[in-house]
């Protein structure tokens, strides 16, 4: 079995929000727990998918494990080394081993630099190779991401979305990383281009032995590329396991809803609502969004949970003393639900 490259334990990231003069002076402000006690690990050359609705903390986790954002508490171990408290200088040599692909296609592409210079810069951040070596590496990079040589003289604004994404990936590959956090790498692209990029990322993983933390809300793509999937809700992982189990035998009601909402959208049958009458209408209406400002006590998902309603609102679900913890239900599949 391959070794663990990243291990995250009880990671927390709380943002404090202070509004107005009074709260500034009194030092009181609201605390938003964007990531609230998350643990997981990645093995070398595997892909872990991180899914959830916007605002659930996916991106914050991605940024925090790379120390682009400092955690409030918890432990991050990269390749056997605790990096939670490392200073900027100490982190610098590690940065080349862990890189991020940002959702924004333009991130990292200086609009005033040609593609050639963008790649040259990336190649010379950590070392000073000879010009001949730089040229040959640039060609290797272009080959890896299937870009034509003719694009080297272009500015980012002259590239299409798919080409920008490829340059962005080439730039990340230039420092030869081992771990890549890919934050919504396809969501800004057209469907036909998305497929190209997904294939490319899989090829690169096979050829270069990369490890991915793949953050996305595109469930079919996550299921396709990931070995394991973690489902997040309101800053916590509510379920984690093998991709096919998460998709087809979910144990947490939220996971079930996430995947079935995909099927709903595609179904051409008469809607649930039309068939289900009053009960379904209530579900349709009460399906709001989660709210950090008024966190539910006990299970965070209870206010939206169909199981909670069907079971007659059991007290354990809203008991502040018993927030459900992740527990193993077999084969490394973990769920945080009292009734899973």
């Amino acid at each position: 079995m391959s070794r663990t490259i990243l291990e995250v334990t009880d990671l927390r990231k709380h943002y404090s929000q202070r509004r107005g003069l009074v709260s500034r002076l009194t030092g009181q402000g609201r605390v938003i727990p964007a990531v609230d006690g998350v643990s997981f690990y990645l093995r070398e050359n595997e892909t872990v998918g991180l899914v959830g609705e916007s605002g659930c903390g996916k991106t914050t986790i991605g940024r925090t494990v790379l120390r682009l954002t400092d955690p409030s508490s918890g432990r991050i171990v990269f390749d056997g080394r605790d990096i939670t408290k490392l200073s900027r200088a100490e982190l610098r040599p590690l940065r080349r081993e862990m890189q991020m692909i940002f959702q924004d296609l333009d991130a990292g592409l200086n609009p005033r630099m040609r593609v050639r210079d963008i790649l040259r810069e990336a190649l010379t951040v950590y070392e000073r190779p000879s010009d001949a070596l730089i040229t040959s590496r640039i060609h290797w990079l272009l080959e890896q991401v299937s870009l034509k040589d003719s694009k080297l003289a272009n500015f980012p604004s002259e590239l299409s979305g798919g080409e920008k994404r490829r340059v962005g990936i080439a730039r990340v590959l230039a420092v030869r990383p081992r771990l890549i956090v890919a934050d919504e790498p396809t969501s800004a692209l057209d469907i036909s281009i998305q497929a190209q990029v997904v294939n490319l990322l899989r090829d690169l993983q096979r050829d270069l032995g990369l490890t991915y933390l793949f953050i996305s809300h595109d469930l079919p793509v996550v299921e396709l590329v990931s070995q394991k999937v973690a489902v997040m809700y309101l800053g916590r992982i509510v379920e984690m396991g093998l991709a096919e189990n998460i998709a087809h035998q979910p144990r947490h009601p939220y996971t079930g809803i996430l995947w079935s909402s995909l099927a709903d959208k595609q179904s051409t049958e008469v809607s649930l609502y039309a068939r289900g009458g009053a009960a379904a209408e209530r579900e349709h209406r009460t399906w709001g969004v989660f709210d950090f400002e008024q966190p539910a006590s006990g299970c965070r998902f209870a206010p939206r949970c169909p199981l909670y309603r069907d079971k007659g609102r059991p007290a354990v679900c809203t008991d502040p003393a018993s927030e459900p913890q992740l527990r193993d239900v077999g084969h490394g599949h973990v769920v945080a639900c009292h009734f899973a």
Partner: protein, 369 residues
């Protein structure tokens, strides 16, 4: 059969792109009809011209050197009304070798005439909902106020109180919880899904004859998306409103449309009944439609962890009228027998089955484009 509620004929919309220093033929000869009560779904990638088609129909192409030609006929009160009538007098387009060289446009005259044509149409006869509802709502005014304004402007309910009751009725119909309380909410206090519901309420409260929904679910979370789609399906069943639906998301198009038009490079490449166009394993299908469907991972592909079938290459901006088929460079179904046609002549939109048209040299059809 009745004349379609909306009939678009040979629509062309060009824009000047500063980045490319050229005119882009965003919509390049599109003809479509939307029959009363049906939903026509236009699907395509960015740059295919689907949104510009919708904007043209709503009279929203006014900015800068954007020009429209063709006909857009709307049935209103039993009469046919060409929404582009006389606009051509305000712009002169010079073309050379299929390339738009120059546009001389009387900007003020054009705008004024366009507003005259759209008066009493936009908002009343044709209502629109957009992607990113929050930016389409007025941030300084409550949802209720905005709804009341729409209702008093466009319907016979002129009194403050009756308009208010009507507004609450519409908030309830789009399944907003406690509509009386929400009435006084500002857009910033509401989630994206809720804003989209309010937008839909506002569009429908004018009792329009045509609803244009331009990417109504894009940018929302997956769970919210499916609920908005569900809501649109219910409202369609309840009100029978005629809808022109634009989306890049085939699953949304599939769920809501009676008929579908697939757009590529500014033209319609396939059109027909939704069930036929998207039928699994359909034989007569445009290679682009087939590729688009194949690039979405199916359950089978995921299970086998197989590669996605990507469409090679990129969507190109249409600056010149291409000699051959617009999809030629990316098509994987070109055979030696038809290669000369594919590279040299644009295929006509030919009927391959009753009501089902495909723009491709693969299928022998009568020349009826």
């Amino acid at each position: 059969m009745d004349a379609p509620l909306l009939a678009i004929e040979n629509l062309r919309t060009y824009f000047y792109s500063r980045a490319k220093r050229a005119f882009i033929r965003s919509v390049d000869g599109v003809s479509l009809g939307v029959a009363r009560g049906e939903t026509l779904g236009i699907v395509g990638e960015s740059g295919s011209g689907k949104s510009v088609t919708a904007l043209s129909a709503a009279g929203l192409v006014t900015a800068g050197p954007g020009v429209i030609s063709g006909r857009i006929d709307l049935q209103s009160n039993g009469a046919r009304r060409n929404l582009l009538d006389g606009l051509e007098n305000y712009a002169r387009v010079t073309e050379e070798d299929g390339r738009v060289m120059a546009v001389e446009k009387d900007e003020r005259g054009w705008r004024k005439h366009s507003e005259t044509l759209m008066a009493g149409v936009r908002g009343k006869e044709i209502a629109m909902i957009f992607q990113n509802p929050r930016s389409a709502l007025n941030p300084y005014s409550t949802i209720g106020k905005q709804l009341v304004e729409t209702i008093r402007l466009h319907t016979s309910l002129k009194g403050e109180n009756e308009a208010r009751e009507r507004a609450i009725h519409w908030l309830d119909r789009v399944r907003i919880d406690s509509p009386r309380l929400r009435f006084d909410n500002f857009p910033f206090g509401m989630s994206g899904g809720m804003c989209q519901r309010a937008m839909i309420a506002m569009a429908l409260s004018a009792e329009p004859s045509l609803l244009i929904a331009d990417e109504p679910t894009t940018g929302l979370d997956a769970t919210i998306q499916s609920r908005i789609v569900e809501l649109l399906a219910q409202l369609k069943a309840e009100t029978g409103i005629t809808t022109l639906l634009i989306s890049h998301d085939i699953s949304v198009i599939q769920r809501l449309s009676d008929r579908i038009a697939v757009m590529y490079g500014g033209t319609v490449v396939e059109t027909g009944r939704a069930a036929e166009v998207l039928a699994p394993g359909a034989k007569m299908r445009h290679p682009y439609t087939a590729a688009l469907l194949a690039s979405i991972p199916s359950a089978e592909m995921i299970r086998r962890k197989s590669y996605l079938q990507a469409i090679e290459g990129e969507v190109l901006d249409t600056i010149e009228v291409p000699r051959g088929c617009r999809f030629y460079g990316r098509c994987n179904r070109v055979t030696e027998a038809i290669r000369d046609n594919c590279s040299g002549h644009e295929p006509p939109l030919g009927e391959v089955a009753p009501g089902h048209k495909v723009r491709c040299w693969l299928y022998p059809t009568e020349r009826n484009a």
